[in-house]
């Protein structure tokens, strides 16, 4: 059993996975990449006959397509707002869960439930909740406010999307931060207390810095998810009113499957991919060394 044997076994084990990824992920991506440099649409015969237009699609997107640029800005704004709210709420809840109280296990399960619900179901449920004669407006009326028409006003529709996302994914932040808090070693905290730090100082200057890698991981994962956000918005608003809640994924979907501008849509998709790669790279930079240490 030499080294060679071991290498060939390793190869044997990893080959099926690589083949599947190559056939079903890399190949379509290559086709899409080529497509993004042509002016192909399904009505113009096969892809092979399509005319090569170079960077025309990309130029069009960046220079003329305000809807595309707006969708990007909106998706970034949505990420920023949702992530901050989810982080603060999740952190608050995780800190509460560090206290002792009865029924902790059951409550933990209850708080994690939203994460387990299908995005489409979440979208449908909040669509019902935000109906003009729905329960949200009923509660607002009890508080003496007139219930608005949520899906007819662009700001309110955007707010509805934010609330839906926050409801759906705060549990993920909570879960990640809770496991981070549980893993914080006790010695540095003891040392800080002996040196005279009060609980607030301990939290801000000892505990929180140790949570940094965990927080970054949570932010990176959620950023990726918001960039892909589609299901909930599709069920809630279909991007409306107008295009005021149109995320970048929804815009690409509409380009490709409503307007059949496939090559143009592919170009948009690649720009989003490159942009989000850069974004994640930036977000991961501060903890890169730590991530690699963890993986021995």
């Amino acid at each position: 059993m030499g080294k060679k044997n071991a290498i060939s076994i390793g190869r044997m084990f990893t080959t099926p996975g690589q083949l599947v990824s190559l056939l079903v992920l890399v190949m379509p991506l290559a086709v899409a990449f080529y497509m993004s440099f042509t002016d192909w649409t399904p009505t113009r015969g096969s892809l092979a006959q399509a005319e090569f237009v170079g960077l025309e699609n990309y130029r069009e997107l960046l220079v003329w397509d305000t809807r595309f640029l707006e969708a990007i800005g909106r998706t970034l704004a949505l990420s920023a707002i949702c992530l901050c709210l989810e982080f603060l709420l999740g952190l608050g809840l995780a800190v509460l869960f560090m206290r002792s109280f009865r029924g902790k296990r059951a409550l933990l399960s209850a708080f994690l439930t939203p994460m387990m619900v299908l995005p489409v179901v979440v979208g449908y449920t909040f669509w019902m909740l935000f109906q003009t004669n729905g329960p949200v407006n009923q509660v607002l009326q009890l508080l003496g406010m007139a219930g608005p028409e949520w899906f007819k006003d662009s700001t309110l529709a955007f707010a509805a999307v934010v609330i839906t996302e926050v409801w759906h994914w705060t549990p993920l932040f909570f879960l990640i931060l809770l496991s981070g808090l549980n893993a914080v070693p006790e010695n540095p905290i003891r040392a800080a207390v002996i040196l005279g730090a009060n609980p607030r100082q301990v939290f801000w200057h000892v505990v929180l810095p140790m949570l940094r890698p965990v927080i970054v991981v949570a932010f990176v994962i959620r950023t990726m998810e918001v960039i892909k956000l589609f299901d909930e918005v599709f069920m809630l608003t279909r991007g409306g009113p107008g295009s005021s809640t149109e995320t970048i994924s929804l815009y690409i979907y509409k380009l490709a499957f409503n307007d059949f501008q496939l090559s143009y849509g592919a170009a948009a998709a690649f720009m989003v991919l490159v942009g989000s790669l850069l974004l994640v790279h930036l977000l991961l930079t501060p903890i890169k060394d730590q991530l690699m240490e963890d993986r021995h």
Binding site: M1, T14, Q18, L23, R99, M115, M116, G265, A266, L273
Partner: protein, 286 residues
């Protein structure tokens, strides 16, 4: 240090959070057991006037709701339920099997995989809308569009990074010495992996399977663009009730949503301990 107790003010805060968390689910379940007259009543009805299972029956027998004077449910959801089960179970099994071998291969035999976290993360980042375009084109030339084989292939490919990296984190936790001991007893490497490694990560294997199942069961966009009339899944069927010509069938739609949600909530509780690891591709271990 003993943790401090939760005082009453903070308990109230937590109660408010709990209400916010559970209310949408409460509303969905209540709507599913409302008779048609309560569906879209003004002002909204919180508790059904007379609870009924008619919405669930209507899913499988579209004419059942006629006794309440509502017609026009054109499609039964039977095909969608069947389709969801077929597509998710098949693709989950295939994805986890392939992922298991990749995980062992990468964890035990490959060296230069230091940059993995970034690679995995970027693999999950491409908007599905973008991959969907070439899928539709390629699949329509090899007539895999509107077929379960095509849908399953997509699901396997999309969840494969997930099952591979989650399982790899479980294999990484296992000391190499265990397998080496088995090999000293005369086992071949392959046999050592099959009879020692795999049984020892049973728990991780189960959690990974559940998480991949959750991903496949919830998937919406690929099913939407790859299905015309031959195939359907629950999420696609769910999105169609909104546009039904008979107006919105709130109760029936909610009933299907509840059915779709049940296996996931149950499964999610079973693997609660591994949820953080799964959702972060093994970056965070609990």
């Amino acid at each position: 240090m003993a943790p401090r107790k939760l005082g009453i003010p903070l308990a109230v805060v937590m109660g408010a959070g709990l209400a916010f968390t559970l209310f949408p689910i409460f509303w969905l379940v209540m709507t599913a057991i409302k008779p048609p007259i309560d569906w879209n009543a003004s002002p909204a009805v919180w508790l059904p006037s007379c609870p009924t299972f008619i919405n669930f029956l209507t899913l499988f027998d579209p004419d059942a709701i006629r006794e309440y004077g509502v017609g026009g449910v054109s499609q039964s959801a039977t095909a969608a339920v069947f389709g969801s089960i077929l597509a998710s179970v098949a693709s989950t099994c295939i994805s986890v099997c392939i992922g298991l071998f990749s995980a062992i291969g990468i964890s035990r035999y490959s060296k230069g995989s230091r940059s993995t976290p970034l690679v995995i993360l970027s693999g999950r980042m491409f908007p599905p809308a973008a991959i969907a375009v070439p899928f539709v084109i390629i699949f329509s030339t090899v007539s895999l569009i509107d077929s379960y084989v095509g849908l399953i292939a997509v699901y396997v490919a999309v969840t494969l990074p997930f099952s591979t990296w989650m399982l790899k984190s479980f294999v990484d936790d296992l000391p190499r010495e265990i397998e080496e001991a088995a090999m000293l007893d005369g086992m071949t490497r392959v046999k050592a992996h099959l009879t020692v490694t795999i049984p020892l990560i049973k728990g991780g294997l189960f959690s990974t399977t559940m998480l991949v199942f959750i991903l496949n069961w919830s998937e919406f966009m690929f099913a939407l663009v790859l299905s015309y009339s031959n195939i359907s899944t629950i999420p696609v069927q769910l999105s169609k009730y909104v546009t039904a010509t008979a107006g919105t069938l709130y109760g029936v739609q909610a009933a299907l949503a509840v059915l779709a949600m049940l296996p996931l909530v149950a499964g999610g509780f079973l693997i609660q301990g591994h949820l953080a690891r799964g959702m972060t591709f093994g970056a965070i271990k609990q």
